[in-house]
Symmetry: C2
Subunit: 213 residues, 2 copies
């Protein structure tokens, strides 16, 4: 039985808007741990996420061991070097100075996968667009992200990775695809402005590209 | 300037949890329109969504004309026939009886795309995982979905479609990829239980598949 009656008032909507405004992609973490019951509360958001055909294809691996963390960090560092090679001039200089992951500090690190061949849901809704399973996992991550932020916990999504290599390093089943590597912990600071905007890499657009047909 | 101070209390967290519990993939809509200012409030959630490198690759097309709606509906009907062919026996019979889209009733219909080649963000975070742009669009859709639900508006994500054909039918730029076709409107009913669970297609798992490395 769900809490409430499914009705929400203006005060709640205002706070929800504020939650979205204060959600950040966090790369600077304090190193103190997140209490296990609090992490569990955040993870419970996965159970409420939408998934195509109720396939619930998300699979979460908590990366704890020194060896697994080093493999992930080395993967990131190599991918980041390759990414840097794609820039030149001022942009290269700026890129080299960016802090793009909290993998060396974040106390909790989660690799999130999609089981591309789960029988759950019997394929409903995923036959013409099989990518819907991956989108379901992304949906769950977003609910987790908001749920964490509402508890003062920051999440950073690292995507500068060779996903196939990380799957091998973490020895996950062959039909699992990496969707996200998440750094989780208490953020050093809170802000309503994206870090990439603060440092001048890119600005938020401020309007939605919208057309009609 | 964002509202609030980035801190949230237990009462808010409880309501946020309740919002996630009452969010549904809606297929049964009332036909009365959603006031434009209210729709705009929901769409404003896109502006707060996370996006890789601040690329904001989402592109939204409101499908209004009779011709465009008919093209989308025909596309769905054909894809649904093909999907039905993939089932046999009881499952085929059950599938044939499911209502899987509200495209014939929903007053607002949005096709949401990813601009796969947007220069915005200069490719940051998307070089080794270009799918991150698509995941950013999925993230924005989830914020829109929650924002709508908090306003009593239902959203249904239709994925039983030939995405390339729909791009041609809606005459969108070549570098746009279909992420979602969203039906939006007031739901006929509210519920804390997924429709696919109610009709016995699939159940929610109730626990998160979780491993450590």
């Amino acid at each position: 039985m769900a809490a409430g009656n499914g009705e929400f008032d203006g005060a709640f909507r205002q706070q929800l808007d504020s939650l979205m405004q204060w959600r950040r992609d966090v790369r600077r973490f304090r190193t103190d741990t997140v209490p296990a019951p609090l992490l569990q509360e955040c993870l419970d958001a996965f159970l409420l996420a939408p998934s195509v055909g109720l396939s619930e294809p998300w699979r979460v691996v908590q990366v704890n061991s020194g060896a697994a963390r080093q493999a992930a960090l080395s993967n990131y560092q190599a991918a980041n070097e390759r990414a840097l090679d794609g820039y030149s001039g001022d942009k290269a200089q700026m890129y080299a100075g960016l802090k793009l992951s909290g993998m060396q500090e974040a106390p909790v690190q989660l690799a999130v996968f999609c089981d591309e061949e789960t029988p759950k849901g019997s394929g409903l809704g995923a036959q013409s667009m099989p990518e819907m399973r991956r989108y379901s996992v992304v949906s769950a991550i977003n609910l987790f992200w908001l749920s964490a932020r509402a508890r003062g916990i920051g999440v950073g999504w690292v995507s500068i990775l060779d996903p196939e290599a990380l799957c091998r390093d973490l020895d996950v089943p062959e039909n699992w695809r990496l969707i996200a590597y998440l750094c989780v912990g208490y953020p050093e600071t809170t802000s309503d402005t994206p870090e990439l905007q603060k440092v001048g890499w890119e600005e938020r657009r401020g309007h939605l590209p919208f057309e009609t047909r």
